[in-house]
């Protein structure tokens, strides 16, 4: 527990930073004492990532003072930060894609054994030092990033939305390991939009709003509302959805998958998705959910199995085929979904020009209307809209959803759409998804945050080891039940 009379490991005050006209930070401050885990909180675009980048020398501040163990410090580069004991895990994976794991570690002089130890500890099995980074899944990369940070024996660990792309089991491990490090005296700055994680891990919270530190809080039961109020400058009710009576699905399903298999991961995935329904998908990391979404979106051909849309059999050989059949896909990986140096408008309007017959003059009025509607619905922060890469991570994520919102959807395939999105916007996305469904769309919704299932879905299928092992109704979908199912435990129950 940090208190002000101890010497802080890190004490930053009055940090400011502008990007052209965008003032990301105006007056941010933060302190971390040994053994303390401080949550850095704020809405999307509040400046959290910018703050972390400044503290670790990846960006130069316009103003501000940083003390490390009470001494003035000028952190000029990430390498220098590391030498001063400040070790970050940035929100974007910071590993070199074309080098293998060993070379990546050698680059930062990090001992390989220690990293492998931490990787194991964090629950990733079978990682080899000669694996190419570009071949590894996102979750593994995040874990590797963290393991690398841990292995370099940090005094202060800065974790920027480390867990956003992780499935529940891995999140647990991360929280456990980080807590243990803190107990050994390491200071931790922890950024996440998930209150459950913060409640479990953090001792205190520093809240940023519009680039300014608006206050510090002690984490204790019931602090959530107060915290949200500080983050947003307004109250937000966090009530649950009234799931009501279970839906009655009748007639022809919008989407029917029968016996889908993708060698070697997916073995047998079958489900039916009806118009007006939001069907959740629950799975731990690497159970085949990625491949299933790839098949549904036309990215990959299944080894066997059939797809039907509105009763007609479908064979997709290109995403365009899936889109023509009304299936719109929001991928989990933003790198895949965004034109980084193009504007928000162009990103959202992209599908309007996709087909050969749309190559002619743009219908700009039609387009502007739809795009503006989507921006408004999702409350995308358009301060830096000239280039999507200048948006904060959460706002980038919203753009990927906005694209299909503007285009209009029949069947929406959402792969972890709330990754890195702040509480307020999440609370707007669930009703949005519901609203789409009520208007007749069918939604397939994979999320790594189990608490979202009852908030957004009617039913959920559980995928374990490449098979659909269970189907849970929203009314019964407690986190515990989902977790059991996700670990494949309910199947064993049934067998015994």
């Amino acid at each position: 527990m940090g208190s002000s009379d101890e010497t802080a490991l890190l004490d930053a005050t009055g940090v400011a930073k502008s990007f052209g006209a965008v003032r990301a930070l105006t007056d941010a401050s933060l302190r971390v004492a040994p053994g303390e885990v401080v949550a850095l909180m704020g809405a999307n675009g509040a400046g959290k990532s910018t703050f972390v980048k400044i503290l670790t020398g990846a960006l130069r501040p316009d103003a501000g003072r940083v003390l490390i163990r009470g001494h003035d410090a000028r952190v000029g580069s990430p390498a220098q930060a590391r030498r001063s004991g400040l070790v970050p895990v940035y929100q974007e994976p910071s590993l070199i894609p074309d080098l293998d794991v060993a070379d990546n570690l050698r680059l930062g002089d990090t001992p390989g054994d220690a990293v492998l130890h931490w990787v194991n500890e964090l629950g990733i099995k079978g990682l080899r030092l000669d694996d190419m980074i570009s071949d590894l899944p996102l979750a593994t990369l995040r874990i590797l990033d963290l393991a690398r940070a841990l292995a370099s024996d940090p005094d202060v660990l800065l974790l920027d939305e480390m867990t956003a792309a992780l499935p529940t089991d891995l999140v647990e491990n991360v929280l456990r390991v980080v807590r243990a490090r803190a107990d050994e005296g390491c200071g931790v700055i922890y950024i996440s939009h998930r209150f459950t994680e913060i409640a479990e891990l953090c001792d205190s919270a520093t809240v940023l709003r519009d680039g300014r530190t608006v206050g510090d809080l002690k984490i204790e039961p019931g602090v959530e509302d107060r915290c949200v109020e500080m983050m947003l400058g307004a109250k937000l009710s966090l009530d649950k959805r009234d799931t009501g009576a279970a839906r009655q699905n009748k007639g022809v399903p919008r989407l029917r998958a029968a016996g889908i298999a993708v060698a070697p991961v997916v073995k047998d995935v079958s489900f039916e998705l009806f118009p007006g329904e939001v069907l959740g998908v629950v799975a731990l990391e690497g159970q085949g959910q990625d491949e299933v979404f790839d098949v549904l979106s036309g990215h990959r051909k299944p080894t066997s199995g059939t797809l039907e849309v509105d009763g007609a059999p479908m064979h997709f050989s290109h995403p365009a085929d899936a889109i023509a059949a009304g299936l719109s896909y929001v991928p989990g990986d933003r790198a895949e979904a965004l034109l980084r140096e193009r504007s928000v408008r162009e990103n959202i309007a992209l599908p309007f020009s996709a087909r050969l017959r749309d190559w002619g003059p743009l219908r700009s009025k039609h387009e502007r209307q739809r795009v503006d509607h989507a921006i408004e619905k999702l409350q995308i922060d358009t301060r830096a809209q000239g280039e999507v890469q200048r948006l904060s991570g959460g706002n980038q994520q919203k753009v990927t959803i906005g694209r299909w919102l503007a285009h209009g959807v029949q069947t929406l395939l959402l792969f972890d759409p709330t990754r890195g999105i702040d509480v307020r916007t999440k609370r707007q996305i669930y009703p949005l998804v519901r609203e789409l469904a009520e208007q007749g769309a069918a939604v397939l919704f994979y999320t790594s945050e189990l608490e979202e299932i009852p908030l957004a879905c009617d039913r959920a299928i559980v995928i374990f080891n490449g098979r659909v092992v269970d189907m849970i109704d929203a009314s019964e979908a407690t986190e515990e039940a989902l977790m059991r199912a996700a670990y494949g435990l309910s199947e064993m129950d049934a067998a015994s």
Binding site: P78, A79, S94, D98, L99, N104, L107
Partner: protein
């Protein structure tokens, strides 16, 4: 083992292609032998150095359009110097000149933040002009000791030119590839931001990579005058040829992937194709067509194979 094989599949494929081409040469011209190999190796020398230079800057994520011009500068510098001093100091000075030119290219890229292709396009003209200022028309002299270095074969069947090339490139590249610097070069080429965040000094790495390209260009310029015996101020056709060989050799434009061996094998392939076409007395105009077709076809084949692989 299979990993190693897969990693180097492209290079092994190129090597196999080279062997096939050698066999074809032998079939067309049964007298083709040690002499033929030797002149092949000599013809490949300037291309190999230009290609190695280009490969390094492409790996670091850039491109250097001024390589042929730097070769011309180094060629005339050495040829002029050797009129008044011994070969060893002249060669050393030339290598330093090459290093300085390359490093200047790199420094300009880093400092001005102008994209690599623009800076080196401008420097293409600057170095070309400098070469003409050093020597307005072909001239100068080259020590015979240097010229004999790349002729004949000390080890039967292995031309001296090949040994010279191997030793020179290896001296520059192997220690760097082994050291962390080599890793940094690949890292910067692969993902500059991630490299910076992993603690790599991006600016220094780039300048060094361009400097290395300068040194290799200097070797290319030296090999030119070793072949011809005089310095020529007009840049030869090495720029586009080196880009083609680099890509053919499996280095990805954009950076981070590939090595030097593949591109150098590609140089030999391109050279031997010309030999074959000459031996077969193909109409020279058709030769141009055939060269173009082969270049495109090999890369197409590679693209199709890797695409298939990715599609699984």
């Amino acid at each position: 083992m299979s990993r190693l094989l897969r990693k180097n599949a492209w290079m092994l494929g190129l090597l196999a292609l080279l062997c096939v081409l050698l066999v074809i040469t032998k079939l067309i011209q049964p007298t083709f032998g040690a002499n033929g190999l030797e002149s092949l190796a000599r013809a490949a020398l300037p291309f190999a150095f230009a290609t190695a230079a280009m490969a390094i800057v492409v790996i670091v994520g850039g491109i250097d359009l001024s390589i042929a011009s730097m070769m011309a500068v180094c060629g005339v510098t050495a040829a002029v110097l050797m009129q008044s001093m011994g070969p060893v100091p002249a060669v050393l000075i030339t290598l330093i000149v090459g290093l300085a030119m390359g490093a200047l290219n790199g420094a300009l890229i880093v400092l001005t933040r102008v994209p690599d292709i623009v800076v080196t396009l401008a420097m293409l003209f600057v170095w070309e002009g400098v070469a003409l200022l050093i020597l307005t028309s072909p001239g100068g002299t080259v020590a015979t000791s240097l010229r004999t270095l790349i002729s004949g074969a000390m080890i039967p069947g292995v031309p001296n030119a090949l040994i010279f090339m191997g030793v020179a490139v290896a001296l520059v590249w192997v220690p760097i590839r082994r050291a962390k610097l080599g890793l940094s070069i690949y890292a910067v080429g692969s993902d500059e931001l991630a490299a910076f965040r992993s603690g790599v000094n991006v600016a220094r790495t780039k300048i060094i990579a361009y400097g290395l390209a300068g040194v290799l260009s200097a070797m290319g310029g030296l090999s030119l005058i070793m072949l011809t015996g005089i310095g020529e101020p007009v840049p030869g056709p090495y720029l586009l040829a080196s880009v083609a060989a680099v890509v053919l050799g499996g280095v990805v434009l954009g950076g981070g992937r590939g090595g030097l061996l593949g591109p150098i094998i590609a140089v030999f392939i391109l050279r031997i194709i010309r030999t074959i076409l000459t031996l077969a007395a193909v109409d020279p105009n058709v030769t141009t067509i055939v060269e173009g077709v082969i270049m495109v076809a090999v890369v197409m084949l590679g693209a199709v194979l890797t695409y298939r692989g990715a599609q699984r």
